[in-house]
Symmetry: C2
Subunit: 490 residues, 2 copies
């Protein structure tokens, strides 16, 4: 049978088993789902299904298996690497109707939630008991936990608290065959047997679909202090970051913005950051009151020593919100100063920050493409915003080139092509710059273990799909970083 006929047959089967309201096949409805947060890629899905339970997800996956159709899972569709880009020849499985918080166990400091639950909904649920769910992507008001698991999402406070992988202790998944299995230790923090959580979390939907997520709940700290420090330039702000970390302090967050992103934020949300700042740092400290007071003094001193010309301390929640407003709006704000832009995501060792920033500035100078820098400075996760105007012939391509060159800079400094947005469709082509064919082949062998037929989110992450039956091609090619003479041992 041809694809359209198989899709129709699956639609009929699932309408019968899940109910007609669970299946969308009208072209206008399908178009709603044609892209995720990365709108540069758009494909209308062959079929959309909205299951309401694990058993229904398994039934959809089994229907795809029986009809040999690919499928893609989608949460809220906020991803920035096209990881939830649909297939026109396949089924898009949307988890937005799986929004139950199934269990909250404050004694064990965990909750069990369905994948469609919104990130912030967990914190809202447990905040009366002074708990919260720690990973806080900028999209936390709308993004889903299932998507966070797929992307191993981070956020501003991951410097101190870690990523999704550090806060999920168990997963119920539907495998690409339609079976239901548990991965990880569940409510217990230590796992036994293979710890398959690590490979599943961040596998971008290619190893199965999470249907229940056991998340850690973290006690909300008694005291929070937020300061905004304005510096004449990026170099002095970078110096302050290094000095703070070197002093043995781990702030909950250290965010940095450059002059261009500050300008964008001012225009968008009137955040009133200090005039004339070449860079600002937002440093947040949390913990018991005495600890925070001591750290606040230490951080203030480091900022002053590094050249901060103005320091503001948030007096209350309102002022804290105002300080964060500029940072949190930065991506969208750039739209005010540039008709088009690319949100890039790369990682460098924190110590390489000054050098990489200088290189990005030189790149921008040379190409005439403006780059605004916003980043999680504490862990070296850059979010350069590459500004361009699609209506100017050649600028789109030039921006793409600059964007790629920034990734090359990250790799060249021993970093990574993505910190928290994932590889998806967008960066698959860059993956061989970081990994040898052998490294990638090892990953793909694991993929073949979970999904030999490659029906589960195919075309994402890996530049070239692997034929699961073929003999491994691993040889002994050197690691790219080693080949480049970057590290003797690494």
């Amino acid at each position: 049978m041809e694809v359209p006929a198989r899709l129709a047959a699956v639609a009929e089967r699932l309408a019968a088993s899940l109910g007609p309201h669970a299946v969308l096949s009208d072209p206008a409805e399908l178009r709603t789902y044609e892209c995720d947060g990365l709108a540069r890629y758009a494909v209308s899905p062959g079929l959309v299904v909205l299951p309401e339970s694990t058993e229904q997800v398994a039934e959809v996956v089994r229907a795809c298996r029986d009809a040999d159709l690919p499928f893609v899972a989608r949460g809220s569709g906020t991803g920035l690497s096209g990881g939830a880009l649909p297939r026109s020849d396949g089924v898009l499985i949307v988890t937005s109707r799986m929004r139950r918080i199934l269990e909250v166990d404050l004694d064990a400091e965990c909750a069990v939630v369905e994948p469609g639950v919104i990130n912030l909904a967990i914190s809202r649920e447990v905040s009366p008991a002074h708990y919260h769910y720690a990973p806080d992507p900028s999209s936390q008001q709308i993004c889903s936990i299932g998507g966070n698991v797929a992307e191993n999402s981070g956020g501003a406070h991951c410097l101190k608290y870690g990523f999704t992988a550090h806060h999920v202790t168990g997963l119920e998944i539907v495998t690409p065959d339609g079976d239901v299995v548990w991965l990880g230790a569940g409510k217990c923090r230590q796992s036994t047997g293979y710890d398959l959580l690590g490979v599943f979390i961040g596998s971008e939907g290619t190893l199965g679909i999470a249907t229940k997520v056991v998340v850690r709940l973290v006690q909300t700290q008694q005291c929070v202090e937020t300061i905004l420090a304005a510096f004449p330039d990026m170099a002095s702000a970078g110096e302050a970051v290094s000095a703070i970390i070197a002093a043995g302090i781990t702030p909950a967050a250290i965010e940095m913005m450059d002059a261009l992103s500050i300008e964008a934020a001012e225009q968008a949300v009137d955040c009133r950051y200090p005039d004339g700042a070449g860079a600002v740092l937002i440093v947040e400290l949390d913990g018991p009151a005495d600890d925070v007071a001591a750290e606040l003094a230490a951080v203030t001193a480091r900022c002053e020593q590094s050249g901060a010309f103005e320091l503001r301390r948030a007096a209350d929640e309102y002022e804290r919100g105002e300080m964060w407003k500029g940072r949190k709006s930065a991506f969208a704000a750039v739209g005010r100063i540039s008709p088009d832009y690319i949100v890039q995501d790369g990682v460098i060792p924190r110590t390489a920050l000054p050098e990489v920033l200088a290189d990005i500035a030189a790149l921008s100078e040379r190409t005439g493409i403006r780059v605004a820098n916003v980043f999680h400075a504490g862990d070296g996760n850059l979010h350069p915003l590459v500004l361009y105007d699609e209506s100017v012939p050649g600028q789109g391509d030039a921006a793409e080139e600059v964007s790629g060159a920034i990734l090359d800079l990250c790799i060249g400094h021993g970093g990574s092509i993505t910190g928290e947005h994932g590889v998806g469709v967008d960066k698959a082509k860059h993956l061989p710059k970081m990994f040898t064919a052998d490294d990638l082949d090892t990953m793909q062998l694991v993929r073949c273990a979970f999904d030999p037929a490659q029906r589960c989110n195919p075309g994402k992450v890996f530049p070239t799909p692997r034929l699961c039956g073929e003999v491994p091609r691993r040889g002994t090619t050197p690691h790219p970083a080693q080949a480049a003479g970057l590290a003797e041992a690494f």
Copy 2:
């Protein structure tokens, strides 16, 4: 060719390529390696090889592949679950000649080391710069990093600092085919593509052999305070642990010992814990001086409120060492009060502590088998010591039964059959109590991805080896915890 002939051929090939000093085949020499820290199991290896480099490890593995012989990697042989138990029909690959610290990068806060490097050697190397390697198994003076990676080793300070998995950011491994690949992000904390580190760390030597390990270095805290609190009974000590955690304090360590283990420690090392203690807690706090002072006051208050009748604070490093001496000697000390004993290792949710301790006491009462309890109380990792006398007919079996029943208690409370000692040969039979056939099959599919021929440490972890060619047998059997009605969602 028969096995002995194949072993002889491999011995000849490796003596030629690695040099004769790298190959041991004399039966007396082989016997040295017949067991690891779990001496109940002993098998003389077919051949022992001591490689000195990644390339040599790869060469040994390729020789095994070509001769179709199984192989087992061994570090210092301190494991407690028989994970490094040799095969009489195979090759034991001993990493003790791979002891170079290849690189220390204090800016990036990491080091690259060979697998035979002793855990404590890393901390010694970087201690002048006020850094250390955090995971601290009791055997840290002799155990190797390669073994720590295989077992995902923990230690007393893992409550605050996490396990091996949280401190290893990259691995060079030799795959079961003899290829060399890198897993993980290396010096950068965030990984791209599949994060295969998580599944490799703790896979107990069944997925390959780590040949280079990138470890995080942690700044040594400015201030450390250690207190010893004596309680009339375990229940009040347990209450103090809950109160400390509930106060939002994460001590570097909270260790608990019961009356029987205190008695053993007194006899062995004269640790002079307070008279009449039914339980002692050792609580260690670290951080900036002001923070620690505040936490010390809070912990002291909680202990007093929970019924501590004596509190001692270590005045200096010497007194700190004295306090720890009793705890660190506990396992060995039990040898003073019992001719034979089993060191058990299980995990329970911390909140189940009082109930599980009562159940263990009842079990001991019923069977007449004494159980000494020593544990990492903060994270619910129990180390019950089951005492018996092999020379009394039936006692060995009875002790085995009690030991198994304790694991059942852990599982029954939603815990795990191992916290940090691994499954190895010893606990493979218990694994199906925690996982469904489908769960185990998913793990074994990953094993087959790495090692389709099952040559790499076969017979460990999994109760039944999987034929890698067979069709997956996963069905939809309920999770044991769910079947037992323990959790609706989990």
